[in-house]
Symmetry: C2
Subunit: 173 residues, 2 copies
């Protein structure tokens, strides 16, 4: 099988991480792949915030857990969190942001880095606390959170993929 | 550079296609990669409709052009159109569908097949004509159109990628 196709098909979501940090050179490649995702009319409406600072990572984890009504770490111990946000004034922003997320997840897997999409970024950055973080990072406070791509290294083997549903593909010939 | 990262970064949108058909074995790999995109809680909310029949392809082109108020072919002559739709009762359906689109676009490029995301699938399948097509294909008529991944082979070289915007990535250390 083609190397890239194999990577696209074999990526799995990881929900238990060790403390091992993601190497700088791998992180740079993952971020680059994210930024090259296609966007509507090439408006490049998304932004990627790479959170490598432990205190900020833990703050996001706490905010995210509160939205869920939980006290656990929604980032499963992953040391690095890439937050994708996008400019909601661009009609395709949500699709654009999701494509960036997809490239981040796929690029991580290609480099042997484990990852998972964690939701509730929208609610996180709608809050006053979230807007304050955006301002601190020098970003417009009306950006909408699309998702978190958590990054790190797995603690144990990943489960086999679930079978694809029947009828996922319909052919019209 | 890692082979997959290179594919993710070098993919371009193609807007002029020859009549050359996409080979069956490549199409199957592209569809498989699409179906293995991650989805929220593994609900697999999207469906991929592979339109290879010329009459149906031309009908979708006409419907799409009318939404745009244009008489041109929004599919740029591409012979194959993959329509991604998703079940809007699943909270993550729009993100899920966009990730399927991303895998389709990336898989096509990995196999040397050109592609482009064409929008207005939402409006297309909100119409009575669109719902009639869904019913004809044996699909629920309340699916929401996410996008069209057009497939084929380019007529000319693709332009160089636009530079990425300044500030695409913010690092918080």
């Amino acid at each position: 099988m083609n190397h890239t196709i194999n990577d696209l098909v074999s990526r799995r979501s990881c929900r238990a991480y060790s403390e091992r940090a993601v190497e700088e050179e791998k992180l740079l490649e993952i971020l680059k792949a994210g930024s090259y995702a296609p966007t509507g009319r090439n408006k490049q409406s998304p932004v990627i915030v790479a959170v490598e600072d432990g205190a900020t990572r833990d703050l996001l984890s706490k905010m995210n857990a509160e939205i869920m009504g939980s006290a656990t770490d929604p980032f499963y111990g992953a040391p690095t969190v890439l937050v994708v946000l996008a400019d909601p004034s661009v009609p395709t922003y949500l699709y654009d942001g999701a494509l960036v997320m997809g490239n981040l997840l796929n690029a991580a897997h290609a480099l042997g880095v484990d990852s998972c999409w964690i939701h509730r970024a929208k609610e996180e950055f709608e809050s006053e606390e979230g807007k304050a973080l955006l301002a601190k990072w020098g970003l417009p406070t009306d950006l909408e959170g699309i998702g978190h791509c958590i990054l790190g290294y797995r603690q144990a083997d990943l489960p086999a993929p679930a079978p694809r549903k029947e009828g996922y593909v319909v052919r019209v010939k």
